[in-house]
Symmetry: D2
Subunit: 334 residues, 4 copies
Amino acid sequence: MNLRAGIVGFRGYSGAELVRILEHHPNAEPVLLEHRSDSEDRPLPRGHKGPARAPATAEAVKSEGLAVVFLATPHDVAMQLAGPILDAGARVVDLSAAFRLGNGASYLRWYKEEHTAQHLFAQAVYSIPELHRDQARNARLIANPGCYPTAASLALAPLARAGVIHRAAGVICDAKSGVSGAGRKPSLKTSFCEVTENFSAYSILDHRHVPEVLMNTGLEEAQFSFTAQLLPTHRGILETIYFRAPGISSAAALLDIYEQAYANEPFIRLYDPGKVPDLAAIQRTNFCDIGLKFDPATGRAVVVAAIDNLVKGAAGQAVQNMNLALGLPETAGL
Amino acid sequence: MNLRAGIVGFRGYSGAELVRILEHHPNAEPVLLEHRSDSEDRPLPRGHKGPARAPATAEAVKSEGLAVVFLATPHDVAMQLAGPILDAGARVVDLSAAFRLGNGASYLRWYKEEHTAQHLFAQAVYSIPELHRDQARNARLIANPGCYPTAASLALAPLARAGVIHRAAGVICDAKSGVSGAGRKPSLKTSFCEVTENFSAYSILDHRHVPEVLMNTGLEEAQFSFTAQLLPTHRGILETIYFRAPGISSAAALLDIYEQAYANEPFIRLYDPGKVPDLAAIQRTNFCDIGLKFDPATGRAVVVAAIDNLVKGAAGQAVQNMNLALGLPETAGL
Amino acid sequence: MNLRAGIVGFRGYSGAELVRILEHHPNAEPVLLEHRSDSEDRPLPRGHKGPARAPATAEAVKSEGLAVVFLATPHDVAMQLAGPILDAGARVVDLSAAFRLGNGASYLRWYKEEHTAQHLFAQAVYSIPELHRDQARNARLIANPGCYPTAASLALAPLARAGVIHRAAGVICDAKSGVSGAGRKPSLKTSFCEVTENFSAYSILDHRHVPEVLMNTGLEEAQFSFTAQLLPTHRGILETIYFRAPGISSAAALLDIYEQAYANEPFIRLYDPGKVPDLAAIQRTNFCDIGLKFDPATGRAVVVAAIDNLVKGAAGQAVQNMNLALGLPETAGL
Amino acid sequence: MNLRAGIVGFRGYSGAELVRILEHHPNAEPVLLEHRSDSEDRPLPRGHKGPARAPATAEAVKSEGLAVVFLATPHDVAMQLAGPILDAGARVVDLSAAFRLGNGASYLRWYKEEHTAQHLFAQAVYSIPELHRDQARNARLIANPGCYPTAASLALAPLARAGVIHRAAGVICDAKSGVSGAGRKPSLKTSFCEVTENFSAYSILDHRHVPEVLMNTGLEEAQFSFTAQLLPTHRGILETIYFRAPGISSAAALLDIYEQAYANEPFIRLYDPGKVPDLAAIQRTNFCDIGLKFDPATGRAVVVAAIDNLVKGAAGQAVQNMNLALGLPETAGL
């Protein structure tokens, strides 16, 4: 019998992606949890009802027999709902940033507001499965990572662990994301006429996804420069990452570090030296694709990492984490 | 010395286009009139101030010496502001639908709300200059036409006047518009992720622009079927119009009717038989381009008309109307 | 054991979609058949080999044990390859137009060139499964329909059979397609800078997909007016279809005809009266979605039908036809 | 009387932009010079002839009385045509890369082919007017800069001259360009379906525009890392530039260097500290907009520079250079 997985925020872009993935999951089925902040549905063809629905309450968690609830909501809603849902016996995979930074002080610094559920940090586990798999197994509250940090961390963590990055020279991550990363709530910044044929940078040097990358790589803030930029596309993140690796002799040697780190990873794909992924390679998949160019004469390295912000950057990784937490095959449904 | 032309709603797409046109107009200059409903400005480079600003009040009309005020606002704002501005001595070119339909009853039927400035209908002049030039000269209150009806009326009026359309067989106007036609106010329908890679039909058979086409062509409602559709483009309208012309012998004969009607029109461009315009032909211009295909064996005609919804469909035509009202050269600034 | 299905033209957009579908098909697996006219591959991640490959020859059909070969090629290549492949013992599903029109004369008229494999017409079966299911079962050579005619025929055939269309008043089909419908071969017309922010009509009244609609609906050429138009989207077809149904009393009555015709069809979805599909509803699916608006006072009907041109309009329908021909479950892999 | 300016390559995107600018230039008028390599025209409305035409020959230069000829052609065509045109008495503004690098050896290294008109290097002047104005005055053969180097050089040259860049730590230029930068010749890489909803990096660390930036800034190759990336937009370049400025105390201090360098420049616009331009700010203009973010604690600087690749990056700058060469007002027509 399938596990039942609740989704709060199922009308948002990440939430809708969760519904889509769970509808095809061999071991789970979605239950749409209505919450007051939700916006309008997409129209359905005649006679199509969609998944089961219930209110986003602790009572419903019990009466619907939910094994897990995904929170694809604003941060404050996640802080408010996580505790009651956990108390009602379900696991929680939180796609908001509420529990990512490990403590209230860090949350306050980067998100500029008080954290209202700090007692839950003790049981919260931050998990990019390729980097934190063991912690995610059997976890009750998983902080699903941000989209930008997922790509940057997967590209940088193996190299940082191997000690090949010249940290003092700094690491640059020039990131570009499709518009769905900004959510479904209408705003001028995400209006078609403001985005089409346009491209813009924002949150230069102070994006709130930066601390996640520092956590995952051990880099210090002064060593990591990050720019977020808005692409006129629906989905996809591509990050162009620059650093120096003075002790490395060739592109193949750099690539070898990735190959060892990710030898058995089903969702990491590497490219031959000099080849790099584009967005088309990863859209609608849970893959993180990584390619690189290296200049042996100067030690300059450029790594390109690409993910779908709604899949590996949100809903896909959330299901991967759910699979780990519930002891299911990690790739199930993906 | 330049005439001063106020613009209410200068932050909207039509309003911004008015500013752009008037900044390059040889006889006029824009004054931005602040109104409470306005949204945020686009950021300006350092040291660039943009045009003069004043409040959208009758007092400012006098103190700023405005010869004309453009209302690029919602219908209700236009109803509220038009009277006081006229009383203060300026002419009004209204880009909303407030004064297009000639009376309150028609407005109520199509716009589903009471008209609150019905006393002004007596002096309101509806003007597509190519069809209503004489009425527009020296007019004090001009109802600037809707974007869809401008293209449809310019394509159909000469043929309707010439009596070549088989009215009983019906006229179909399948219209497609860029997203800026929906205005700058954020909404889910105009969000990038909802529009890109998408195409959708709306207001099938009951779009409120229909009565304008009927007024301008003499067609009856049962004879004119109209569908509006949303293109994933910033700007541009293309209408594909189908009808039967049983008394016409060739494409050239049909084209000849247009050539006679529009012989001296600076903003109408025709195409050789079988050739039709695309959006690229007219974007950022005040042209209405018309081309056609005709099947002599069956009398079936297909006319394609294209305009830029923000120029000939809004701001450009509004300036053309202003030029007529103020006795300036009709093409000035265009 | 899986059936092996060859694909000639696997680098084109329809061909790549065939590969994608067959890689997930429970009863079949793809074999890429190299043919001289093929263009360049998309780069693959390191270590990913993709499906098996073989030359597009009769010998390979035998040595690879192919049960079926898909021809996603230009018309002339299909005419050249179909015979040898059939002789080698495989079934053929031809996505080109080579065998759609039933005879060489009709092909010559619409495609302006001599047909070089007319002896194969005798065994060719044209199949939109919802309309020609019985013929497709066990067929050896299937002519897979054109993308535009699939949507138009599914929208019109049930009404034409029910006799509710006022044929003398004419049927208008205003069709819009994404760019992938034009194929992957580079051309100015499909270059990004020519298409983005643009929209254009082509082949007005003489598109070569017209005869397929006439075949499938019984309409005469003078009764059916068709315009093809290029949308700035990757994929998707939306057709807005206008006609009169004087004997129909309501939208519900019109919809009822569809419900009866398509009661058990897994790939047809209908909408409540007044609701119509958009492209997003059907992209990357094998569905044909149909919705309508009806004006009882005048008998005017507007039907909107939408399909993905690469799936229900090409590769998906081709696999649906393969399933029928081979006796597999019709929805397998879709 | 207007000067006559020939354009070879007028059907390309840069060439068409030249035609558009020169048609509105107060002192010049375009003459379209036909050359065998040219592709098809855009269709014109009935009765519209467009500018004068002549063959791209030395004879026509004389008989048409051309004061200047723009070469918006492939490099090899420019090498072949420049000499005869100069000999015929016209000045040449070359938009290709033929004469940018100053000598044949450098051309061979970066463009991988022999230079066939090396005798012309002696009179060739490379000119971004804001950096090389004096050399451009009265020049006979102007090498118009590449699009990427124009933005990067305008952003970096004042800082490099002021000595504030920490060169050993390296300068990163992460550049993004619209598709028109790749020219109008059809190719798979610029096909709509390959570009829409996609984003890709190319020529990482070895783009042939790099040497121009080195020339203009004095940076060494090992100090300057450049990545070119393809945006799904028609036009516009945005470059995000990273470096360290350890001796600078604030964003205002860094901005002050630009303000002094560009105090009287009509085509450079700066932004308040922390504000940066987007593509919409500069599309269809000859402006180069520059904004920056600076972190005083670590000396990290991020500069964003944006230009329209077809205007300041090609045709606009070419006309600016023509104006300088011919002694016209530098901003004429722009």
